[in-house]
């Protein structure tokens, strides 16, 4: 295309044209989305904090939480943030094979966390905490389930990114796409730190 081309819309940012803020459109949009997500989790966490002591006839939180197990799975999730950083840095150096490797490892760690959550849920249900058992049960499963869905969507995004990079079908700036997935991934991790502290560590 001629040098005089005047690009518009998200095309502009893909080609690194100047924007008024200096941030690309995609990145600004992702930050806004994450800001909105903060309030989504804020609402869910508030609901949980309101209801965590209201157990009716069901089990009490401290009676069923397996803190060592959840600590390990939390550690796994936190490590996935490290591998994500490595993926972003590889992508910025233009090293596709390293990028894909780290993205895949991140996805595997994320999937391990989700697996741990599934195991934890089934264990809790065996111990008598159903979704309808008590206010604690409903709000616990809703909050952690919402987070689990976010991690699962993240895993899907990571694996899709690997596939698209491998097929060389990526639209736009490759390093930026990886970075955006990374922003989402780190956000989900940070939210888990808050949830883990408030739900598991602080006794009710």
């Amino acid at each position: 295309m001629a040098e005089t081309a005047t690009h518009t819309a998200d095309h502009a940012s893909e080609h690194g044209h100047e924007t008024s803020t200096g941030l690309t459109n995609n990145k600004l949009a992702m930050w806004l989305f994450l800001g909105s997500e903060c309030l989504l989790f804020g609402g869910l966490i508030s609901t949980y904090m309101l209801y965590r002591g209201r157990v009716s006839d069901g089990p009490h939180p401290m009676a069923i939480f397996d803190i060592p197990f959840t600590s390990v799975s939390s550690f796994v999730l936190l490590m996935s943030s490290l591998t994500m950083v490595l993926a972003v840095s590889s992508a910025q150096r233009g090293d596709d094979s390293r990028t894909n490797l780290w993205l895949t490892i991140t996805a595997v760690l994320g999937a391990t966390f989700v697996g741990g959550q599934v195991y934890e849920f089934t264990a809790f249900i065996r111990e008598g905490l159903g979704f309808s058992t008590s206010l604690f049960g409903s709000s616990f499963y809703t909050l952690t389930g919402f987070h689990g869905i976010h991690v699962s969507v993240g895993v899907l995004m990571l694996l899709s990114t690997v596939g698209i990079i491998r097929k060389n079908k990526i639209t736009g700036n490759k390093a930026e796409v990886v970075e955006l997935v990374g922003l989402y991934w780190h956000f989900v991790d940070v939210v888990w730190i808050i949830i883990f502290t408030l739900v598991y560590l602080i006794p009710s």
Partner: protein, 661 residues
């Protein structure tokens, strides 16, 4: 739908084959007929579709209102059953707030925001289309409930546990919850899109403080939406889980807190009030200076008071809950915050008055509606301040006084602002002027009708008539001036006068559409950038991206200050300026290409939502469509790629994607 266009030179359309994306599916290239609209990503076409959809819902919501007023016109009304009456007022409010007011503001925002900041489209054109289609799907789901076992009946704020399965056994509330979640996602995507557009895509030279006030107010509104929508989403999800999946969030027998829903709802619900009114404030901040032929008085004050209304708007939600027993400290804090928010609002009112003061006012229909807003909103604002006084509010809670208040601010304020916008911008969007004579009928019927309908409700409310009661009896109607029967009848007659006013508008639209007379390019001697292009604007908006030096750039290109007399003298006509832009047109202009994915994705999301009512299979189908469209979306470049076009020939002819019928 020109993909590459070179304005001002003759073109030879070349047939091109779109690159295949995702196997068999090719990019849509139709430039004619319904396909052009269904798959478009042009912010102007999307804006017009927003407007049409919102207008349809305005009429539906209006008919619901008329049925309510018919029911209440006489004692022991027989028009509606108690159950149907509950559904009617719930759906009237839901439709007007979520399916008329927000989309109509969205129509103006979509159409004019890129034009006002000198951009060629929004930041994410496909997401823009997705917002529109999700809104339509959400509106359909909401209203489908009428035919699928009855609509929602818990009032627009749907207090739980009252909205639980015991008191609302039909699927109405389920459809309501799903429809609003889908419409909420639509608004969230739209708001992110518009914020990025304003922050990132302004024309060179347009600093934030050179932005038109309408753009400013839309920006504030989008921030309100980004941070308030997730909160109601939480509330809706909790209610959905309770009603459909056995959760206990609002089950008082388990120890649930009945205030949980109220807090979550109003943390969204109060910013929502400003989401509704600020776009109208923005519109009249454009209209008043244009027709008073003076710059807006105190532009920074109008901007910053708008922003502070938005900010403080997040801290006043509990004034909707004074009657629920919050405790004296909370009540005091929220009372004071509510009184405080009247200050920036008052600042705006005075700025508008001083804009008109000493101006050579041109009483067009647009101007009449704008002045109507200033007057009627002030009345509604003053009764609003009486609510901030908690003891007084306790008397007024859930009476017609509240109904009177919010209809003065929402109808007298928001709707008048939107109508002012219709008359002001119609020539820009459609290239034809709405008839001013019919406009006068439209305006006066609406003013008289609106005051006859909602004025008496102040009296009804203070006399103690509760809102949401489906009948009132003669025995308790009272006597003399305060007779409930008399004022109810007046309100009902008023509502039909109001409806006739709206009918005049619709007739005006039809007559204008049939007329052949073209509007001049700058009919109002306007001030902002959207007038620096043809009417209707070309697909690429501006032949040349304008460089901005002033607030009210278009005005300053037409007028220069006479240093001797310190008056502004016209040095150029709008027509000449537009022609000059055309002569200096940019060479290559890339526009985003149409796409199937937004509409397909929103259908998938709709089915996914309906799966909550109709079971897992539908959910799976919806999920599959959503996922398929998401991948199609990701794999399709938003702007057609080079290989989609014939190679450039040497004589510099323009390439366009030719219509494929």
């Amino acid at each position: 739908m020109a993909i590459i266009e070179r304005p001002g030179t003759s073109t030879t359309p070349v047939v091109v084959t779109p690159q295949q994306t995702l196997g068999a599916v090719k990019r849509p290239v139709a430039t004619k007929g319904w396909r052009e609209w269904l798959f478009t990503v042009d912010h102007k076409k999307i804006g017009i579709m927003y407007g049409v959809v919102a207008m349809v819902f305005f009429i539906i919501g209006g008919v619901e209102a008329l049925l309510i007023r018919l029911q209440l016109a006489m004692p022991d009304g027989q028009i509606l059953s108690a159950d149907k009456y509950n559904q009617m007022f719930t759906m009237h409010a839901t439709t007007m707030v979520f399916l008329f007011a927000m989309p109509m503001a969205g129509a103006f925002a979509n159409y004019f925001l890129p034009l006002q900041i000198g951009a060629r489209d929004v930041a994410f054109p496909r997401i823009n289309a997705l917002s529109l289609w999700l809104l339509i799907i959400g509106g359909l789901v909401l209203n489908a409930s009428w035919f699928l076992g009855g609509a929602a009946d818990g009032g627009w704020f749907m207090y739980a546990p009252n909205s639980g399965p015991i008191f609302s056994p039909s699927h109405g509330v389920d459809f309501w919850v799903i429809g609003l979640q889908i419409a909420g996602v639509a608004s969230l995507l739209g708001s992110i899109n518009l914020i990025v557009t304003v922050l990132n895509m302004r024309a060179p030279g347009m600093s934030l403080m050179k932005m038109p006030v309408f753009t400013w107010m839309i920006l504030v509104v989008q921030f309100l939406l980004v941070f308030s929508l997730p909160v109601i989403t939480v509330a809706l999800v909790l209610l959905m889980l309770q009603r459909s999946y056995g959760a206990t969030f609002f089950d008082v027998s388990q120890g649930a807190d009945p205030l949980l829903w109220q807090h979550l709802f109003w943390i969204f619900g109060h910013p929502e009030v400003y989401v509704l009114i600020l776009p109208a404030f923005g519109i009249i901040s454009e209209v008043l200076p244009t027709f008073a032929r003076k710059p807006l008085f105190g532009y920074p004050f109008v901007v910053f008071s708008g922003a502070s209304i938005g900010l403080v708007g997040f801290g006043v939600w509990a004034h909707h809950m004074f009657a629920s027993g919050l405790g004296p400290v909370s009540v005091a804090v929220f009372s004071v915050a509510t009184m405080a928010i009247a200050i920036p609002t008052g600042v705006k009112i005075f700025n508008w008055l001083l804009t008109m003061w000493g101006g050579k006012i041109w009483y067009t229909t647009a101007m009449n509606f704008a002045i109507g807003l200033v007057v009627l909103f002030t009345i509604g604002g003053l009764s609003g301040v009486t609510h901030s006084v908690a003891p007084s509010d306790t008397q007024q809670t859930d009476t017609y006084y509240i109904v009177a208040h919010f209809h003065y601010v929402l109808f007298g304020g928001m709707v008048f602002g939107l109508f002012s916008g219709f008359y002001y911008w119609w020539p820009k969007v459609f290239g034809k002027m709405l008839n001013e004579k019919l406009g006068a009928w439209n305006f006066w019927f609406m003013v008289i009708g609106m005051n006859m309908t909602f004025g008496p409700m102040h009296i009804l409310g203070l006399q103690g008539q509760p809102r949401r009661m489906y009948v009132w009896t003669e025995a308790r109607a009272g006597e003399g001036f305060f007779n409930l029967g008399f004022w109810n009848l007046v309100a009902s007659i008023g509502s039909f006068i109001l409806a006739v006013g709206v009918l005049f508008f619709l007739i005006n639209v039809v007559i204008t559409a049939r007329s052949k007379q073209q509007a001049p390019l700058d009919p109002w001697d306007a001030r902002t950038l959207e007038w620096l292009t043809t009417s209707p604007p070309k697909a690429h908006n501006f032949d040349r991206i304008p460089v901005v030096h002033h607030l009210d750039e278009f005005f300053h290109r037409k007028y220069e200050e006479d240093t001797a007399t310190h008056t502004m003298k016209k040095v150029a006509e709008g027509e000449d300026l537009v022609r000059a832009e055309g002569d200096a047109a940019d060479a290559h202009i890339h526009l985003p290409s149409p796409s199937y994915w937004p509409i397909l994705l929103s259908i998938g999301v709709g089915l996914l939502g309906l799966g909550v009512v109709y079971g897992i299979p539908m959910m799976v189908i919806g999920f599959a469509i959503t996922l398929f469209s998401a991948y199609g979306w990701v794999l399709e470049p938003s702007v057609a790629e080079e290989i989609d076009f014939e190679p450039s020939d040497n004589d510099g002819n323009t390439k366009e994607i030719a219509p494929l019928g």
